[in-house]
Amino acid sequence: MKNCIRLASAYVRYYKKQTLALLMGVVLSASILTGIGSLLDSGRAAALENAKVKYGDWHYELRYDDSWSSEFQNQMSGKGYRIDKDGFLTIRKVIEEPYQIELAYADQNYLDMMGRELTEGHYPGQKNEVAMDAYTLRNLEIPEKLGSRVELDGETFTLCGIVSDMPEMNRMQVFVNQELDYGKNGTYLYVKFDESQKTYKQAGAFIRQMGIRDEDYICSNASVIKFLGGDAKANPFKVIKEGITLEGTGLPYIWGSLNNDWNLTDKAILAALGLFGAFIMYSLFQVSIIKRMSQYSIMQTVGMEDKATFGVLFAELFMIFLAGYPIGCMLGNGAAALLYRRIGQIFIPPESSRVHTGIENMSELPTLPTVDTFHVSWNVMGGGAAFLFLFLIVTTVLLVRRMKKITARELMAKETGRKKSRKIYSAKTGNLTGVLTKKFMFARKGAFVGILFSLSAGSLIFLGTTYITQTTRTHNELSFKADDGLASDIQVYEESDELKDTIPASSVTQLEKIEALESVSPVRYMLGEIPFPDGTFQWTEYYPEIDRRGDEKPDQVLMEKYNGVAVQTGKDDYLLKVNIYGYDDEMLEALNDYLLEGEIRPDMMRKENSVIFKTLMDGQGNYNGFDLSIGDQIQVKTPDHVNIDVQDSPEILRFQAAEDQYEVKKFKVAALTSRPMGKVDTFIGDNENIQGRVDIIMTNEQMKENFGVDGYQTISISLKEGVDATAASKEIKKVVSGIPKCIVKDFTSQIEVQNSYLNRKMIFFYGVALIIFIISLLHIMNSMQYLVMARKHEFGIMRAMGITDAGFRKMLVKEGLRYGIYSSLVMVAAYLILQKFLYYFVTHMLLYLHPNASLSLLPILAMAGINILICIAAVLISGQSVLKQQIIEEIQE
């Protein structure tokens, strides 16, 4: 063993260039692997912290008025669980006017868990005192000043304290004194388990211990517990089996399920980086070994056994790995820490689920998450080291086997029996250098293929990244517009479930006159119901209320208020609640970005009274839930919103009132789209992230003609460039101040932050691709150098025979050009396959909106050009060393 190490260290010192190339390969591979690993880990840790800030630092919420409640305080820990914190909230009363507001008493633990700090004053000590947050105060138009008069449900209170806003501003809470009691109390317990153990298991143990029977009373803080093992992991074998056997599942289902539970995306990124690093290391080392194969042959001839060869090779590799890996880890983590400090937000996973609150409120633009401290991922570092260590062993075994084969072959007759061309080339061409170049390239087909693969690998990764980046950008822009209300700077909307509560057209006219506004896009709204008889609605498992499997429970609020979104009326007959929108022509034109089928022509729609059908999307990005074609007729039932108050007859929204309280209209379908533009969430909701809704979209004129709707539910407003958003907001507020339940929300700062976030994310993607490209470049240079060195003898002969330096370089350029062209062809062919996979991935797994099926030609051509240039440069640089050497030395090699 000592001898092996001695020999290996002699090689390491003697072949400095190769050692350095390999060391660089190890350092770069380790740095990119561990750096990104730490960034991903830090991102996840920050996401958890952000979720806690946003949704509260609790795991589960339980109704605290069951038989087990009295025992709770004695059972803070038990077999399989430990409660770290508990807080109580008692709802004293909920008022509906002017908004839905909870009057509640909360203990200090609840306030701490929710992050609701008292910023001014004190908690209510008297029955007539209240504490409120700024958001509620603003909406009730009460001055943010202690001592202000607060009138709620006919009672008068004094503002004694101001608390920080609820992180998720979707509930209005007013804190009251403990003594204030209306006799209708509902107490809720909020618990936080020990976070070092999986919360799901602890919750199960707690439920068993306490004998809690009705689990419906338990609500989870999904956004927080998903980071803490809050859900039972699906059995991967079962998931794969289901994906293969169940119709309509397939790869997207497998990926989606496993990704949810096992965080596959991060793992796939790390695995790809690890494999890439391993490939580079193998390739660099094999080139280094092949260069001195003859020495090993001699040593084997004089009696060195395979065991010893393995020992020498492994010792050499391991020495370089031992030096390079820690340096790579330090460099990678150092760079990652710096990067994280600057653009850490892009590594924080986006939110995919929210706290279950029934109907979502008006959609909100996500605010940028806060960057937490940088976490070094010891797991990735350890895992990477273990993987690469195993890889070193495999590499060494492979090389020893290869060496054995080559040595044996060399000892045998040189002929391998391969058929050679008997053509006399000089009879046809006066230039044999071209022939030589070709022959050199194809002499070793294995090496040729390997080089082509590595040459195209870097550019392939770059193209793949560009495709993902471009589709991500398009998707972000489209979903931003569709999901977040036309990406509008300011939104004005009615927070009411009374259909007749609308923003009058006159207010829109007034808004249009405001100088600072670039565009005002008003949306009319109506709730409707459409029958889908005889199996025309095919995704019966889409809505839990009609899903026969009963895997998921329907939303209670939706069920109570609207009788669910879907209702089964016969074996294959269903009724679906739909949102009906009226858009202006500009918005309808913009809908073309989301067009699936048909045509969007506002004039034709008005003329034919045709509509746009926004269809459903499944979890795999498919849109074929309905047997519906362009030109088909749909029948829409709408409630009489003029004469009937929802408060007086709530059954009207359930579509269970007398038939004379509804109107039925028929429309022709002009187009199918994947998303709406401006939307209304206050009724049955319209959030793609939960369960999609069917929307019927028409012109604002049709809304008036068909349903008599002339007011607006929501208005999306864009500001002129450089305009003061706060001032514009105030002006808008002035216009709509008299309209009940009308809310003005300013999104400008969030949009700005969001845009810069996206840009940083794109820059990071390209940065990673660039580093990978640089690593490939190192590999290309090394491979080319090997190619040239391997032919030194032949080049020496050619020089002795009289090829000039210029002629020699010309020959190398031709070779580089050929490698460039061939590798570009391989790159394009491989990219076409990769693109198909990526397209499938972004369409069915990431559920991107309207991704391009292919990348534009420019980046592909640019990459091919760069490839060719790199190949030429690499061959020329390597060839320069041939010209520097004495001809006679080359001939003698």
Binding site: N431, T433, I797, M798, A800, M801
Partner: protein
């Protein structure tokens, strides 16, 4: 007529304590059509001398003139072209291009001269003369040592050079093939009126040449031209 003049040539390798004098003050001339052998023990400097004459290496001191061209004064490019057109090489290890067949190996130096017409009739004649015509489509690895050396000779003759430099052309061959190759060298020398300078350490082979130049420790033996009789005795 003088084809080659070697004047006071020195060649040293390395520096300081590692300095090696490969050639010291070597001078001699070679006439047109002469078949000369350079003889000496291993390490005496004979191959170094041949490489300097061929322009494959540069003398530390002195002058080498071939066909009235001082090769030291030629630029790198001029030297390459001059070598291609005036000097043919035959190496001990044949140094053929393994990826080219016999015909293309022979024609290779001609093709380096862009626009130069490849005289296929001449190459055919050469290959027939050297008994390689039937093997013209064969690759070096498919030939015997003697056949490979004949290909190397054909290649050296392809450009009709004035001077052929052969470095131990029979070093790797058995005695029968050695006689055969020597016969070919002599025949081509006569037929094309070429000058041949051949390095060998084999006294017997050297004695078949017109003239023998002996080198010992980097110096010409006695510093004079020495002619041996066919029988090997000093005249």
């Amino acid at each position: 007529m003088k084809v080659l003049e070697v004047m006071n040539v020195d060649k040293t390798y390395g520096s300081r304590e590692n300095k090696v004098h490969a050639l010291k003050d070597v001078s001699f001339n070679v006439e047109l059509g002469e078949f000369s052998a350079i003889v000496g023990a291993s390490g005496s400097g004979k191959s170094t001398l041949l490489n300097l004459i061929g322009g494959l290496d540069i003398p530390t001191k002195g002058k080498i003139v071939i066909r009235d061209h001082d090769i030291a004064k030629l630029t790198r490019k001029e030297l390459t072209i001059f070598r291609r057109r005036n000097i043919g090489f035959v190496f001990q290890n044949y140094s053929l291009m393994p990826v080219l067949n016999v015909y293309d190996n022979t024609a290779l130096p001609v093709t380096f001269d862009q626009g130069k017409y490849v005289d296929h009739a001449y190459i055919k004649e050469l290959l027939k003369e050297l008994g390689l015509w039937e093997k013209r489509r064969s690759y070096p690895s498919e030939l015997s040592g003697g056949q490979q050396q004949r290909v190397a000779l054909a290649r050296a003759l392809a450009n009709k050079p004035a001077l052929i430099l052969a470095d131990e052309p029979t070093g790797n061959l058995d005695s029968r093939t050695t006689i055969e190759v020597m016969g070919l060298l002599k025949a081509s020398c006569k037929k094309y009126n070429q000058t041949i300078l051949m390095v060998t350490h084999n006294e017997a082979i050297a004695q078949t040449c017109d003239r023998i130049i002996r080198i010992e420790d980097g110096r010409l033996y006695d510093g004079e031209r020495e002619f041996y009789a066919k029988g090997g005795e000093v005249r």
